[in-house]
């Protein structure tokens, strides 16, 4: 099956990843998948205030996911929304397992993700950018994090849906995982699917995301070897 934009079912959109795009930040990265574009910046580790938020045994990964007003067809009202609050939360959980947070008790690692252009797959693009930004900042990590969403259209599994494809899919299933250990750190699903499909879709997502992982590593190598 050829898709609307000519891609194969298992083909992600043209991907560009660049590390070190925000001069002020400790670490940063930009990811674009087609015209979905995310920028992530990392500040810290630094002291966490107010003090009562400090944790005695580990750092707090303070995560903010934000869509800028002009990123969508209809203007997106600035400031946090219920959706962005939830995505901030699951993004934090997607990255925490990969970071040695215990090395920085009482501190925060502040991670800000701005979606500057949105055509589906923004949370996964944000996570991909965030993982590169964290590594770029020199935050010690036990593994990387790579993320992609998959769906099912006309009985066929497809990867990295566009907004148009999201309108017709039977499900939307974003996954993030640690590529070395293959452990899953983000999993959400909306739709209506038999059990068997869910398992196969997760495997399909992890397989299709290999190229993203490669690009993430390339971006870091390019930034730090030149």
């Amino acid at each position: 099956m050829k898709r609307q934009d000519g891609r194969n079912a298992n083909e992600i959109r043209p991907i560009v990843i660049k590390a070190g795009v925000i001069e002020q930040a400790q670490g940063s990265a930009m990811v674009s998948l087609g015209n979905t574009r995310a920028i992530a910046a990392v500040y810290g580790p630094r002291a966490l205030f107010p003090k009562h938020l400090q944790r005695p045994d580990k750092a707090y990964l303070n995560t903010v996911y934000n869509m800028v007003p002009f990123s969508t067809k209809e203007r997106n009202r600035p400031g946090p929304s219920r959706r962005s609050n939830e995505i901030s939360k699951v993004t934090r959980h997607a990255l925490e397992p990969a970071i040695f947070l215990e090395e920085f008790p009482k501190s925060e690692i502040f991670l800000c993700i701005d979606i500057i252009e949105a055509n589906a797959g923004t949370r996964t693009a944000g996570i991909n950018a965030a993982a590169v930004a964290l590594a770029d900042a020199g935050i010690p990590m036990r593994d990387f994090v790579t993320s992609i969403a998959v769906g099912k259209v006309n009985g066929e599994y497809i990867v990295d849906m566009t907004g148009k494809e999201e309108e017709v899919t039977h499900c939307d299933l974003p996954v993030a995982f640690m590529p070395r250990t293959k452990k899953i750190t983000l999993l959400q699903m909306d739709g209506d699917l038999p059990q068997k499909d869910v398992k196969e879709l997760i495997q399909f997502a992890m397989k299709s995301a290999e190229e993203i992982y490669k690009k993430q590593k390339e971006a870091l190598r390019k930034r730090w070897t030149s």
């Binding site: 699951v90 959980h93 293959k182 452990k183 209506d192």
Partner: protein, 256 residues
């Protein structure tokens, strides 16, 4: 707290829990239907000491432009300071937002509400269904209690009548049942060490590193998944969690 945590972990190594339940056993579930007479439908759910109240209210409003013939579903959750020393007043925090959105997705994606039947006039007037979750006592596993409460409240809801001439909703006359087509039930499992616990109490939630909520339908299909918390799962663990949710979902559905 640390002593309590290691106690729970040690017990689990022997396959035991603080309150002697099995790993996959719910606390006692009590369901009260329509306790709130003012609401179109309502439910009071107790799972052990956890207690939530879910109310369904309806009103007439404009449909979304991309779905001109569909009724609108709006789900919200209040973590009232009444229910826990850890809940504060103020704008909703991520915990209550996540809960409401997970419950919402279960109802929406399963097609539980026949939204096409809630159209009054295309593009102009449709019924809006408000599902509000009020936590009364937080003793763990709020999502399952809220999800169960939502479907019970919807199943027992009666629609008010709409007076076309006066353009007013008549809440005095509630006759037709709300059209409900499917019974989504969320089952949450928390990972402690490498064990998956069903229906965690507060003490167990303190120890858990991560959880996964899987909502299933009558036919065993899955309509929503939400992984949460700071741990990672293997594909095998997720597959097992899905199996458990399907089985437990069947059990819970018998209570409806």
């Amino acid at each position: 707290m640390m002593i309590q945590n290691s106690y729970i972990l040690n017990l689990l190594k022997e396959g035991k829990r603080l309150d002697n339940r099995k790993i996959d056993e719910y606390r006692k579930i009590k369901i009260e239907k329509n306790p709130i007479t003012q609401a179109e439908g309502s439910a009071r759910i107790k799972i052990g000491n956890t207690e939530v109240l879910v109310g369904v209210k309806m009103d007439v409003g404009e449909p979304f432009p991309d779905k001109p013939e569909d009724g609108v579903l709006i789900t919200n959750a209040e973590f009232s300071p009444l229910a826990s020393p850890n809940f504060e007043t103020g704008p909703p925090r991520e915990g209550s937002i996540e809960l409401a959105r997970v419950v919402d997705r279960g109802i929406r994606e399963s097609g539980a509400i026949d939204t096409k039947k809630l159209c009054i006039k295309k593009k102009e007037k449709v019924w809006m269904v408000f599902v509000d979750v009020q936590i009364l006592n937080h003793a763990g596993n709020l999502i399952d209690a809220a999800g169960l409460g939502a479907i019970v409240a919807l199943l027992n809801a009666k629609m008010p009548e709409y007076d076309e001439k006066e353009e007013k909703v008549n809440y005095e006359k509630k006759t037709q049942p709300l059209p409900v087509k499917s019974n989504p039930v969320p089952v949450t499992q928390s990972k402690v060490d490498s064990t998956f616990l069903i229906d965690t109490n507060l003490e167990e939630e303190d120890v858990a590193e991560g959880r996964i909520t899987i909502t299933t339908k009558d036919d065993g299909n899955i309509c929503s998944i939400q992984k949460s918390g700071s741990s990672a799962f293997t594909l095998d663990e997720i597959t097992k969690a899905i199996d458990n949710s399907i089985n437990k979902g069947k059990e819970l559905r018998k209570l409806l």
